[in-house]
C-alpha cells in the first residue's frame, strides 16, 4: 500500500528506527551491537552496503567509543545517529553528560532492556531513566510507527535547541514485534528536516575550539544556557509534532490524553505499557467504568504544564512504572508527584511497580489494578504490583 506520502511496510520497531535514521540522512553513524538493539545497526549497514545510506559508519570496540565518536563528529558539524540498549547506555554514561555539555545534537535510539546484574534481556526502562540527569531530551515510544516518527522529529528538536535526544522503545514488545508501518517518502522527510548547518563547529577554516578549561562563572552560565534550551523543548517538540502531523497525518503529542474525559481514575505510564493500558481502558469504558490513560511521550524535560493541564479535575491517578530505582521507587511515580505538588485539587497519586524486569502485565491485570486501587497505599512510596 502506498500513496504520494508514504509506503506501508511490515517492520519491527527496530527496523522502523533504522528507516527513520536512513530518511534523516545523518553523515556519521557509529554503532556497537547489543541485544536487543542489534537489528538497528545491522539494518543500517545493510542500507549502506546497498548504496541507500550515505553515512560514515564507524564500528568501534565499545559503546563508550561509539558515543565519543558521535560527539566529535557532531562537533565537526554533521548530523549524527546511533543506537544502543541497557549496558551500552550505561557504559556511555560519562559521555552522555559530555554530549549534552558540548551541545551536540546527536539523536540516539535506545531499546529499553534490564540492566545487570543479574543478566537479563527483558523490557525495563531503568537503563534510560538512570540517564535523566545527563542533559539529554528523552522520548518514550509505544509502537514501531511512533518510533519511526519520533526519531525523525527528534532530529528537528535536537538541532533546534542544540541538545541531544534519545528515543526509547521497549525490548521485544516494540523492538522485535512486526507491525504495518507507514514509511514516509524521502522528499517529505527532506521538507521536514533541512540539512544540519550549525553556526559553530570544529573546522580548520573557522579555528574554533571546544573543551578548554573554563572558570566557575563560565561553567555556571553554561549550565543556565542548557536550562534555557531545555525550557524551550516542550513547545519545540509540540511544534515539530504538529508540523509532522500536517505532512503525514500522524501526530502523537508530547503527552496524550486517551479517554480521560470524565475519568475517575487516570492511568499514567510510558512506552509499550501504554498499548496494554489502552486496551484496559477500552474494556473498562465498555463496562461503564470511568477510566482513562495519560501517556507520557516526552519525559525529559518533563512537560509539567501539560501534565498538570491533562490531570486537572482528575480525582485519582495510578502510575505504572516498568523501572525501579532502589530506595526511590518508580521513577515516573516520583517525578509525577513532584510535578503535581502544590496543584489545586491535585489528584490522589498511587504508584505501582508493574512489569519491572519484563514481567508480563496484561490488560486484564491493569484493570484489576485500577479496580483495587483503593487498597494501594497513596503515600510517597511506590508499591510492588502483585
Amino acid at each position: 500500500m502506498s500513496d504520494e506520502r508514504h509506503e506501508t511496510m511490515l517492520l519491527t520497531g527496530n527496523h522502523a528506527v533504522a528507516w527513520a535514521a536512513r530518511l534523516a540522512r545523518p553523515k556519521v553513524a557509529p554503532g556497537y551491537p547489543i541485544t536487543p538493539q542489534t537489528p538497528i545497526l545491522e539494518k543500517l549497514t545493510e542500507f549502506q552496503a546497498d548504496g541507500e545510506f550515505d553515512a560514515e559508519i564507524i564500528t568501534p570496540e565499545s559503546e563508550h567509543s561509539v558515543m565519543a565518536a558521535c560527539i566529535a563528529a557532531s562537533m565537526a558539524g554533521v548530523r549524527v545517529f546511533t543506537a544502543t540498549a541497557s549496558q551500552g547506555m550505561l557504559l556511555m554514561h560519562e559521555l552522555l553528560h559530555y554530549a549534552a555539555g558540548a551541545r551536540a545534537p546527536i539523536v540516539m535510539a535506545n531499546v529499553n532492556r534490564t540492566v545487570a546484574s543479574p543478566w537479563a534481556f527483558w523490557p525495563d526502562q531503568t537503563d534510560s531513566l538512570a540517564q535523566r540527569d545527563t542533559g539529554w531530551i528523552q522520548f518514550y515510544s509505544e509502537s514501531a510507527q511512533e518510533s519511526l516518527d519520533t526519531v525523525i522529529q527528534a532530529f528537528r528538536v535536537a538541532e533546534s535547541v542544540l541538545v541531544p535526544v534519545m528515543v526509547s522503545h521497549d525490548a521485544f514488545y516494540v523492538s522485535h514485534a512486526l507491525e504495518p508501518v507507514q514509511v514516509p517518502h524521502q522528499a517529505l522527510v527532506d521538507e521536514f528536516l533541512p540539512p544540519f548547518a550549525p553556526p559553530h563547529r570544529i573546522d580548520p577554516d573557522k579555528v574554533e575550539s571546544w573543551g578548554n578549561v573554563v572558570n566557575q562563572e563560565m561553567f555556571n552560565r553554561h549550565r543556565r544556557d542548557i536550562g534555557e534550551a531545555m525550557a524551550r523543548v516542550p513547545s519545540v517538540a509540540a511544534e515539530a509534532d504538529r508540523d509532522w502531523n500536517r505532512l503525514t497525518g500522524r501526530g502523537w503529542g508530547i503527552v496524550e490524553r486517551y479517554r480521560c474525559d470524565g475519568a475517575r481514575t487516570v492511568i499514567v505510564t510510558m512506552g509499550s505499557m501504554c498499548g496494554t493500558a489502552r486496551d484496559a481502558v477500552d474494556a473498562m469504558r465498555e463496562a461503564g467504568e470511568p477510566v482513562g490513560l495519560l501517556k507520557v511521550r516526552l519525559y525529559r524535560p518533563l512537560p509539567v504544564e501539560a501534565l498538570r493541564a491533562a490531570l486537572a479535575g482528575v480525582p485519582e491517578v495510578l502510575v505504572l512504572d516498568r523501572n525501579y530505582s532502589p530506595g526511590h521507587g518508580g521513577v515516573l511515580h516520583q517525578e509525577l508527584r513532584a510535578a503535581l505538588y502544590g496543584m489545586d485539587h491535585a489528584p490522589t497519586i498511587r504508584g505501582l511497580l508493574a512489569g519491572v524486569g519484563g514481567v508480563n502485565v496484561s490488560a486484564q491485570r491493569i484493570a484489576e489494578y485500577v479496580r483495587d486501587a483503593a487498597g494501594i497505599d497513596a503515600g510517597p512510596d511506590s508499591v510492588w504490583a502483585r
Binding site: 553523515k27 567509543s65 561509539v66 565519543a68 558539524g77 549524527v80 580548520p204 578548554n212
Partner: protein
C-alpha cells in the same frame, strides 16, 4: 656543529602555559609546524591540555577539540569521518595525548581505531607518568622510577607501546624525541604524507616529574637515545623496521644519574636496568635484521 635548517610555520604561540624549559612545548611546536594550518587537534586531559590554554585562550593556531581522557582515538575517528563526509579529506587530524591517556585509559579505543586503520596521526607525548596530576605512575613509567604512587620505585617494567601498535599492522609507527630534532621533524613530515593510522611516540623528559634542572630536558632526551633506553626507530606496515640511531655510546647509568626519580638506586638496580635495556636492544636488533631479510622477500 651543523646548524639545523628549520622552515617553521608558527602554529604554536608564545604565552602558553607550559613549565619553563618544558620539552613537551618544544616538541609540539615542531610537530604542529610540520603539520601546518589545515589541521585539527584532539587533546585529552593532560599536560598538553593545560599548555593549549584555558577558555577563551588558545596557544594553538588550529581548532582544538578536548575530549574525555579515555576517548582520544575514538574522538579522532568521529572527527575524521565527519571531515571526510564534508569532503575535507586533506585536513589532518592529530591527537596530542599523554602516556596515561594512551598506554592506560585510552588504550582500548586506540587499539580499536588502529584495527580500523582510521586516518589520523596519533602523537603520544610520553613523559612516563601522570605528570599533570603531580607525577604518579602510568604503565609507561619505567622500572624502579619513583613517582607519587610508587614511592619505593615501580616494580614492573614499562609497557612497549611502539611494538604493540606495530603489531596492529598500521602503516606507520615510530619513536622520536626533541633531543634529535631533525629526526623528529622528518618523521612528522613522513607521517603527514601517509593515510591511515600513524602513531608517533615522543619521549618527553619531564623536568618536575623526573627531577631535572630547567635546562636538563634535552640532555636527558639525548642520553635516553644514546644509552639505548629509548631507541629511535620506525616500523612500516608492522614489518619494516628502520633503526635511526644505530649505536649505543653510553651506559644506562649516565642517563639514570641525571634524574632525581632514580636517585635511590643501588649498583644492583642499575645493573638490572642495564640488563633490561641490553635485552630490549638485542630484541630490536633481531627485528631490524629480520625485517631486512624479509624486505628482500617483500614483507
Amino acid at each position: 656543529m651543523k646548524m639545523m635548517d628549520l622552515v617553521e610555520e608558527q602554529m604554536f604561540c608564545s604565552g602558553h602555559a607550559a613549565c619553563p624549559g618544558c620539552i613537551e612545548a618544544l616538541s609540539v611546536r615542531h610537530v604542529l609546524a610540520a603539520l601546518g594550518p589545515d589541521t585539527v587537534a584532539v587533546v585529552p586531559p593532560s599536560c598538553m591540555a593545560i599548555i593549549a590554554g584555558p577558555q577563551p585562550f588558545s596557544s594553538l593556531r588550529i581548532p582544538v577539540y578536548q575530549p574525555t581522557l579515555e576517548a582520544s582515538a575514538a574522538s579522532a575517528s568521529g572527527l575524521r569521518r565527519a571531515l571526510d563526509a564534508q569532503g575535507k579529506r586533506d585536513t589532518q587530524v592529530v591527537v596530542l595525548a599523554g602516556d596515561g591517556g594512551t598506554y592506560d585509559i585510552g588504550f582500548q579505543c586506540l587499539s580499536s581505531a588502529a584495527e580500523r586503520n582510521e586516518d589520523f596521526l596519533y602523537v603520544c607525548l610520553d613523559n612516563e607518568g601522570y605528570m599533570n596530576t603531580g607525577a604518579q605512575k602510568s604503565s609507561s613509567t619505567p622500572r624502579y622510577a619513583k613517582t607519587g604512587s610508587t614511592p619505593a620505585g615501580k616494580t614492573s617494567r614499562k609497557k612497549n607501546l611502539t611494538e604493540i601498535m606495530a603489531a596492529h599492522g598500521v602503516p606507520y609507527v615510530a619513536t622520536a624525541t626533541a633531543g634529535f630534532l631533525p629526526d623528529l621533524v622528518r618523521k612528522v613530515q613522513k607521517a603527514r604524507a601517509i593515510r591511515g593510522t600513524r602513531i608517533l611516540t615522543l619521549l618527553i623528559p619531564c623536568l618536575d616529574g623526573w627531577g631535572l634542572p630547567d635546562d636538563g630536558g634535552l640532555r636527558a632526551a639525548r642520553y635516553a637515545v644514546e644509552s639505548g633506553v629509548f631507541p629511535l626507530y620506525e616500523v612500516g606496515d608492522g614489518c619494516r623496521y628502520t633503526l635511526n640511531h644505530a649505536s649505543r655510546t653510553r651506559p644506562v647509568a649516565d642517563y639514570l644519574a641525571l634524574q632525581r626519580r632514580y636517585r635511590h638506586l643501588g649498583q644492583d638496580d642499575i645493573a638490572r636496568l642495564q640488563a633490561d635495556v641490553d635485552e630490549g636492544w638485542t630484541r630490536l636488533m633481531r627485528r631490524v635484521a629480520a625485517s631486512e631479510d624479509e624486505l628482500a622477500a617483500s614483507c
